[in-house]
């Protein structure tokens, strides 16, 4: 027994010793630690699809164009310039002479091969549809209906790349900053197959290169000295942490353990919004409720209008969400050149009148409707506010039903088994189309089963029009149908990007519409 006890004592002493040794010493240079919100699903640009992956992509890779740190519009990347044909359907990129982190040249043919790999059905890229939305022949190849020669992209010479668009799409070049259009190290992919992404094999062409990846723990990148604009890069190391809980991340930020935390814990919004390092910026994203357009009584436009007009969105953002969200009656956030259509304003009297006309005077006889939302504190307090507002303003009772995320998606998007459901949409590019084309008949994302051929015709027409006020007017007419004449959705507010970063300590970080931040500009303030 004595021996056992002394053995145990030794273990404890050893553990204490390990513990008291403490951490590693401070690293040289300027190290930056960010909480990335989740473990990256993959580093392969053909297969990534989320925000955390995008943040790492921005360090390791660069497409033909990048994102302007303030406006999110296209800036020169591997392409130093580009020209659009007079009819707007063809873009020609002039590439700069640059290389991968292993020194191998990047040519126009590399771009062609990269895009074809992403579109190859065998790659099973989830975001390939994005290329299919603008590049001629991309959908046909990706769906297996045509060979790769159908894709209208070509290398005119080593440093000239050309792409044919499906129409005169003014947002196409901005879209090409997206990782779906990434340029890939095909020489490594061909040699290593799926293992090209392993730390020992991966090469990139971004401002940083991968140094270490400890899954579920941290991912570290260091400057890529072969990057064409390496002189702009100021950080000597970036560490990405995969913490999914915003409260834990906030605690780490407060304790000085991370320099940038994306997202905040909603329960502490009152405390956080007073902090000088709280950054909030309008996001191209909308929080809204969907009506199931096939279920009574929501088949009646008067009911949909009454429910919409009985909600005071300003009260919601001032008293409930409180994070700086922008109350709205529009589906599309304001964008350059586009003035969103306006939905009906908050008007209790009118709402009561409409409800009475629909056969529910003073809310009598209105069925007890469930509001479906995915389990989260934030969605819950909003649903409770809606419940209370409708009770107070219309004297109707609704119930709240929450489901875990994947179950919720199945109920809402596959089974369409709901009356009213919560939804949120983040724009993929800066054009109203990204918010409107999902409501056309047959769209996989038309969960409320909205069906108006007139709406479809407007959205499709805008797809063939050249950039300019006329096209924007067509899109605005479509939006007006959606949120006024038909009221297929109730827009609540436009999301804001909520970040914690001390901009008196760091510069080159700007709040911007897509929330995409180019790492090469971020550095310590002098």
């Amino acid at each position: 027994m004595k021996r056992v006890l002394s053995g145990l004592l030794l273990i404890v002493m050893a553990a204490t010793l390990i513990v008291s040794c403490g951490g590693k010493g401070p690293a040289k240079g300027v190290e930056f630690i960010m909480n990335n919100g989740a473990e990256p699903q993959t580093l392969d640009p053909s297969k990534i699809q989320g925000v955390p992956e995008h943040k790492i992509y921005m360090a390791l890779f660069e497409g033909l164009v990048g994102y302007d740190p303030k406006t999110s519009l296209a800036t020169p990347g591997v392409a130093e310039s580009w020209t659009v044909s007079p009819d707007g359907t063809q873009v020609t990129f002039k590439l700069r002479k640059t290389t991968w982190s292993d020194g191998v040249k990047i040519t126009a043919q590399t771009v062609v091969d990269s895009w074809l790999r992403t579109l190859d059905p065998a790659t099973a890229s989830e975001y390939a549809y994005m290329a299919g939305m603008v590049v001629k022949g991309a959908n046909e190849y990706n769906a297996g209906e045509a060979g790769k020669e159908a894709v209208q992209i070509r290398a005119l010479d080593d440093y000239t790349f050309q792409v044919d668009l499906l129409g005169p799409m003014p947002y196409a070049v901005d879209m090409m900053a997206h990782y779906t259009f990434a340029i890939l190290p095909m020489h490594v992919i061909n040699a290593k197959g799926d293992d090209w992404i392993k730390v020992e094999n991966i090469v990139g062409n971004g401002p940083f290169k991968l140094a270490e990846w400890k899954p579920q723990e941290s991912l570290t990148v260091v400057p890529n000295e072969k990057y064409w604009d390496a002189k702009t890069v100021r950080l000597s190391k970036i560490t990405f942490l995969p913490i999914d809980d915003n409260l834990t991340a906030y605690n780490k930020f407060k304790a000085g353990e991370v320099d940038w935390a994306h997202g905040i814990p909603l329960s502490l919004v009152d405390e956080i919004k007073l902090r000088p390092d709280y950054q909030v910026a309008p996001q191209v994203a909308t929080y809204y409720y969907l009506f199931n357009m096939t279920r009574k009584p929501f088949t009646d436009i008067r009911v949909r209008k009454a429910l919409t007009m009985a909600l005071d969105m300003q009260e919601l953002v001032d008293k409930v969400t409180k994070g700086g969200q922008l109350a709205t009656s529009s589906m599309v956030p304001a964008m350059e050149g586009y003035t969103p259509a306006k939905g009906p304003a908050f008007n209790v009297e009118e709402a009561r009148k409409l409800l009475a006309e629909a056969g529910f005077p003073d809310g009598k006889g209105f069925p007890k409707t469930p509001i479906l939302y995915n389990t989260s504190d934030g969605h819950k307090i909003i649903a409770e506010w809606v419940q209370e507002s409708w009770k107070k303003n219309l004297n109707i009772e609704v119930s709240l039903v929450n489901q875990e995320w994947k179950t919720f998606l199945d109920t809402r998007s596959n089974a369409h088994d709901f009356d009213i459901a919560r939804a949120g949409w983040v724009g993929d590019y800066l054009d109203p189309n990204t918010f409107l084309d999902m409501f056309i008949i047959g769209s996989g994302n038309n969960d409320g089963l909205y069906a108006n051929p007139e709406y479809d015709a407007l959205v499709k027409k805008a797809g063939t029009m050249k950039a300019g006020p006329e096209r924007m007017a067509t899109l605005q007419a479509a939006e007006a149908l959606l949120i006024t004449k038909d009221q297929a959705v109730i827009p609540f507010y436009h999301y804001v990007e909520q970040d914690l970063i001390d901009t008196t300590k760091w510069d080159g970080w700007f709040a911007n519409p897509l929330g995409v931040h180019d790492w090469k500009y971020i550095g310590p303030k002098n």
């Binding site: 590693k24 392969d44 099973a124 579920q216 913490i243 809980d245 179950t407």
Partner: protein, 309 residues
């Protein structure tokens, strides 16, 4: 004895087989799938993905394919973490959970026995009451309360310890302290209570009375006779405690962002990452079965009343 071990070992195989089969089909019953998201994928894209992972085949075929792979120690690809296989994921996470669990159980064992012995020797005195109050707290306050309270005091207020993280972070081994304390609390409390009870029982037994009657010094009586007898139940408790602490570290790993197997388990269930859930279920089953197996053998070795003929 060896016949028992062989027989017992062989019975593990059908048990595991049944667990794997049931889990495989139960998981598929959950609504949603690994590739559903706010933005629904176009049907052609979904078809490409289903084909790639053989999910377009009938479920029974998928099952036999999976069993075949498992027999070759291949747990398949992760549907979410596309650069990693399930073997990679578990291979990285398992040692983390084992290290955390071993350190926590070791600490619980040492502190628990010391506290238990002190309580028993000072029975019904203030030391006893104090120790047993702590033990009651340890058993009744759950990890999701202990963890955040520790974090609030030691990381945010006093700033002595890092809020979360693991060995490779700046704070290094300091990250271990709060997770170990949180994880060991109920085990520490249980061991303390158990060793106190068992010690008191043994101190009242005839052979201890005999030892005292022989005129042995109290210290010798405790060390040579009491402790040896009193430790038996604790040794047998260590088996289930070990499997419990490994499979039960889910909450602690979530709170302190520790890259262990419990964190992966929670995430894979939420993400419907079927193969990872299966891999975790298999690992957890093996740990539980192995721990019970070891305890059964230990019983035979330590307690002469049990025979394996």
């Amino acid at each position: 004895m060896s016949r028992f071990i062989v027989r017992r070992f062989l019975s593990v195989i059908p048990t595991l087989f049944i667990i794997v089969t049931l889990s495989f089909f139960l998981i598929r019953l959950a609504p949603g799938g690994p590739f559903s998201g706010e933005k629904k994928l176009p049907p052609e894209i979904m078809a490409n993905i289903m084909r790639k992972y053989h999910m377009d085949e009938p479920l029974v075929n998928q099952y036999f394919r999976y069993i075949g792979d498992v027999l070759h120690f291949d747990l398949g690809p992760s549907y979410r973490y596309k650069d990693q296989t399930v073997n990679d994921l578990i291979g990285n996470a398992f040692p983390v959970s084992i290290l955390l669990g071993t350190l926590a159980l070791g600490t619980a064992l040492v502190l628990g026995t010391i506290v238990g012995i002190t309580s028993a020797l000072k029975q019904n005195k203030w030391q006893d009451y104090a120790a047993m109050s702590v033990a009651v707290l340890g058993i009744s306050v759950p990890a999701f309360v202990v963890g955040p309270i520790l974090m609030l005091i030691f990381a945010l207020k006093l700033k002595w310890l890092p809020t979360s993280g693991w060995l490779s972070s700046r704070a290094g081994a300091l990250t271990l302290i709060m997770p170990i304390i949180t994880l060991m609390m109920p085990y520490f409390a249980y061991i303390a209570r158990m060793s106190r009870g068992s010690l008191i029982e043994v101190m009242r037994s005839d052979y201890v009375r005999t030892a005292r009657a022989k005129g042995l010094k109290e210290g010798v009586v405790i060390r040579k006779h009491v402790l040896k007898g009193a430790m038996l139940p604790i040794v047998t408790y260590l088996g289930p405690a070990f499997s419990g602490i490994i499979t039960g570290s889910v909450v602690v790993e979530q709170i302190f962002v520790i890259p262990g197997i419990g964190r992966i388990f929670v995430q894979s269930a939420l993400n419907r990452d079927y193969t990872v859930i299966m891999g975790d279920v298999i690992v957890y089953s093996i740990i539980l079965i192995a721990a019970n197996f070891v305890v059964d053998i230990l019983y035979g070795l330590l307690d002469p009343r049990i025979s394996y003929k």
